[in-house]
């Protein structure tokens, strides 16, 4: 049993990372029906900034967090203005390409500024594991799981109680109607993109002590998170978080009891099957083209 719990817990910690990133996809999808395909690169930017501020400048993580959040939020506003909005307005699908191009820019930028070699960022609460019985987990991993739980609760608060959250929901429901209600749809779309960017930055901030600070940091994470967002359903942010944790545990268990090499083969095949059975995602509601 020790083995089971140990690998399941480690898996859940990884899953919490996926979940945190994956929520970002849903934010923009709900308001614009477009995605930031390079969200993983934004995670990387968050991680690299954390590296710079925390390791190179020795700033306290509590100070680093707001700086990273604000920086990526602002960057998100700018990126949306230049790489998404023009194409959405033109009714073109090339935002797929343009968001990726922004991601490439970020990778190259990071390579030039920070170099290509992976560098460690010390965990915020030391690297002595915490024990639950004999099962061990790093404080940083606990922090990420906590962050995922907080996001889970916070999302509900955000969407139901805050003005911005309500505006997001209104625009998600119908852009036309919400403009009639006096909501600036355009601004909400930009804000949703920037919020997703900021969330990605926070994810990067939390993840980088567990991984390494390097330009390649977010690429695969972003892809897996995307898979999770899709399985859960892009319109179901809380479902996405749950899905992330479950998928992480699944990955851990497959690696533990079967073989790592078939983990992704199995995982992605199940995903295809899940979508076949539930085309709008497990937690998604059917959205047919309206007649």
């Amino acid at each position: 049993m020790y083995f089971f719990f140990q690998i399941a817990l480690s898996g859940i910690a990884t899953g919490a990372i996926y979940g945190l990133i994956a929520v970002g996809y849903s934010l923009t999808f709900m308001t614009t029906k477009a995605l930031n395909f390079a969200l993983g690169m934004w995670v990387m930017m968050g991680g690299m900034l954390t590296y710079s501020l925390h390791v190179q400048y020795g700033l306290n993580p509590l100070l680093v967090l707001p700086i990273v959040t604000v920086a990526l939020f602002l960057l998100g506003i700018v990126a949306e203005r230049f790489s998404v909005y023009p194409f959405l307005r033109a009714g073109s699908d090339v935002w797929v390409l343009s968001t990726l191009a922004v991601g490439f820019l970020m990778i190259d930028f990071a390579e030039i500024v920070w170099g290509r070699n992976p560098t460690p960022v010390p965990p915020f609460f030391g690297k002595e594991p915490v024990y639950f019985g004999s099962v061990s987990i790093l404080p940083q991993q606990l922090l990420i799981i906590a962050a995922a739980c907080a996001t889970f609760i916070g999302l509900d608060f955000f969407y139901r109680k805050t003005l911005l959250g309500k505006a997001f929901r209104a625009v998600a429901h119908s852009g036309e109607v919400s403009s009639l209600m006096g909501i600036n749809t355009r601004r909400v779309q930009a804000l949703s993109y920037a919020t997703a960017a900021a969330l990605a930055g926070i994810a990067g901030f939390l993840v980088v002590p567990l991984t390494l600070a390097e330009p390649q940091l977010g690429t695969v994470l972003g892809l897996k998170a995307f898979a999770i967002a899709i399985i859960a359903g892009l319109a179901a942010p809380r479902g996405i978080l749950i899905c992330g944790l479950v998928y992480g545990a699944f990955e851990g268990l497959v690696s533990g009891y079967l073989y790592t090499g078939i983990r992704d083969i199995l995982g992605f095949s199940i995903m295809i099957l899940a979508l076949y059975l539930r085309p709008e995602g497990i937690f998604g509601r059917a959205q047919e083209e309206r007649a």
Binding site: S92, L97, S98, F104, L223, G261
Partner: protein
């Protein structure tokens, strides 16, 4: 550009391409050419799927891998057999088998994948690409794992080994053939449907097309192109490894399509060429290369959101003007309107009872209006009759026969065709194209006719054109034949919807609020059209709010309120019905 000029341009371009290996010497440019052509073939396949049909795939490298690995393994194992060693047939056998296998896997993926749309579809294809790539790495005994397969037989014709330059010409031919196939496919009846799917799947289904099957077929064609490209790639390189078919390769192909111009004939090729060759020219930027590359993509997209080919003036292949005499000679075939009976239809949505035991009859050749306040269940009913929803209880009868309406295209097969309250036209496709798509159900020419450009397909197309023009004339919009739908006036769009529905040759026409958004003058014209259709024998079920229109044209009216029939009778009876008045007034009071 006129047709002869286009031909001239084409001929010059081909001559230039053919001259490259001769003029440049060495094998460097010939090799780059081969790679660009092969990538071009894959991108053309993806363009048919993503550019024209609007279904994004980020897993096409996997199909390329299928083709490549199949031919590599097959031709390598046959290489020692003397017969093949002498004739070189195993290479071309591998090319064929690889292409077919990629297409078969296209079916396997398309069946689950095409149930979903947009980013969901993109993710399914990403997942597929990832799975294939992982299998290539893990199944070491067959694929050689990460180190791949080397010593793949070189391309040959007979006993003659094709060196880089000669293979260049072979691949050039294949590439031109792929372009030609794309052209034929897109300019066929089949191609019309493919292009329409991008704009509205539901409207394509409404004219009797099984959209799901159509998308699967397109996907398979697309996979076959990619597989074919992969087979050529394997023999060109003599070595393949999973590296060649990573996620980024799939991204590359989609980039090529979007960058060059999705849904244009040459866009994918231009995209593949630029994206492939550009980094070669950026040698000296070394570490700034990615920035220059990404920056260039962004700038191009910013200024050319429709891709590089969006720079060129849009090509509209205006249908050839017919001889007037011919147009006059063709009358529209007679319409035999059918009777429609709705019997005991009940439908719930969760806890909400949208329709409760609704029954009424529509006489053949009559105009029957269905009215009621908002939320009365009119839309649900028309959606059930047209096959979008299935009823929980009850049945629909056409001419007394139980109609099997399991889907929109099944409804169309039964002769029930509808228009949409919120217009569902096919973007920038022309008016006449809309009507031609409506004729799909009765078309005999199939996919193979499209590829082969058969006489049958051409005869049929010209017959359909004549008929389509007659329909436009009937609706009084002949002058708009070659106007793209998205630049039409609102009233005209309504008429195009009706023309498209009529092209299906329905026996029952469902008009869903056709007067919505029209000005008085347009409504009068609409009334004329509706009456004219009845005089030709059409059965029409009209859902409408506009009372003047309803009372003016209807033979009979059914009134729904809260999901139930509250009145059924002639316009004069309905006008006097107290329950109807109460229902409308009550709602009016409630609203006030």
């Amino acid at each position: 550009m006129t047709a002869p000029v286009q031909w001239l341009f084409g001929a010059v371009a081909i001559a230039l391409l053919a001259a490259i290996p001769v003029v440049t010497g060495g094998t460097y440019y010939a090799y780059l050419g081969i790679i660009v052509f092969i990538y071009g073939i894959v991108a053309i396949g993806l363009n048919i799927l993503s550019g024209y049909a609007g279904q994004f795939s980020l897993g096409h490298a996997a199909f390329m891998a299928m083709g490549a690995y199949t031919t590599a393994i097959l031709s390598k194992s046959l290489n020692t057999i003397p017969f093949f060693a002498q004739t070189g047939l195993h290479i071309w056998l591998g090319v064929i088998v690889g292409t077919v296998l990629a297409a078969l896997f296209g079916i396997v993926l398309a069946i689950p994948a095409l149930r979903v749309r947009g980013p969901y579809l993109a993710m399914v294809t990403v997942a597929f690409g990832w799975v294939v790539w992982k299998i290539l790495q893990e199944w070491v005994a067959v694929t050689g794992g990460d180190l791949g397969i080397s010593s793949i037989p070189k391309p040959r014709i007979g006993a003659a080994l094709l060196d880089t330059r000669s293979f260049y010409y072979v691949v050039l031919l294949f590439f031109l053939a792929a372009l030609a196939l794309q052209y034929r496919l897109i300019h066929s009846q089949f191609g019309l449907r493919v292009r329409a799917v991008k704009h509205s799947e539901i409207a394509v289904a409404s004219v009797g097309v099984n959209v799901y099957r159509l998308k699967v077929v397109v996907f398979v064609i697309s996979a076959a192109f990619a597989g074919f490209g992969g087979t050529l790639f394997a023999h060109q390189q003599n070595y393949i490894s999973p590296d060649n078919f990573q996620f980024f390769s799939s991204v590359f192909f989609l980039l090529a399509v979007l960058f060059g111009g999705a849904g244009t004939m040459l866009g994918p090729v231009v995209g593949a060429a630029v994206l492939m060759l550009l980094p070669e020219m950026l040698h000296d930027f070394d570490k700034y290369r990615l920035i220059v590359y990404a920056g260039l993509i962004l700038l191009t997209l910013y200024f050319l959101p429709k891709g590089v080919m969006g720079l060129l003036p849009e090509q509209r292949s205006a249908a050839p003007a017919p001889a007037d005499a011919m147009e006059e000679a063709v009358a529209l075939p007679p319409i035999r309107g059918a009777g429609l009976a709705v019997e005991g239809v009940t439908r719930r949505f969760g806890g909400l009872l949208a329709l409760s035991d609704v029954s009424f009859r529509v006489e053949p050749g009559s105009i029957h209006a269905l009215i009621g306040p908002n939320g009365a269940g009119k839309t649900t009913l028309i959606n059930i009759v047209s096959g979008i929803y299935r009823p929980d209880h009850g049945s629909i009868r056409v001419d007394g026969e139980n109609a099997r309406i399991e889907s929109m295209h099944a409804a169309a097969q039964e002769g029930i065709v509808r228009t949409f309250q919120t217009l569902k036209l096919f973007g920038d496709m022309t008016v006449i194209e809309h009507v031609m798509i409506g004729m799909t159900r009765h078309a005999k020419a199939g996919l193979w006719d499209a590829f082969a450009g058969s006489q049958r397909a051409r005869d049929e197309a010209s017959a359909q054109l004549v008929e389509a023009r007659a329909l436009l004339k009937l609706l009084g919009i002949s002058q708009l034949e070659n106007v793209p739908a998205n630049s039409l006036a609102y009233g005209h769009r309504r008429l195009v919807e009706i023309a498209r529905a009529l092209a299906v040759k329905p026996r029952i026409l469902l008009l869903d609020e056709p007067a919505a958004g029209l000005i008085a003058e347009e409504i009068r014209a609409l009334a004329v059209v509706i009456r004219r259709l009845r005089s030709m024998g059409m059965t029409i079920l009209l859902v409408e709010h506009h009372m003047d229109l309803v009372l003016g044209v209807s033979d009979r009216i059914t009134v729904l309120d809260h999901g139930a029939v509250i009145a059924d009778g002639s316009p004069s009876e309905i006008r006097r019905d107290e329950r109807v008045i109460a229902a409308y007034l009550g709602h009016a009071h409630a609203a006030a």
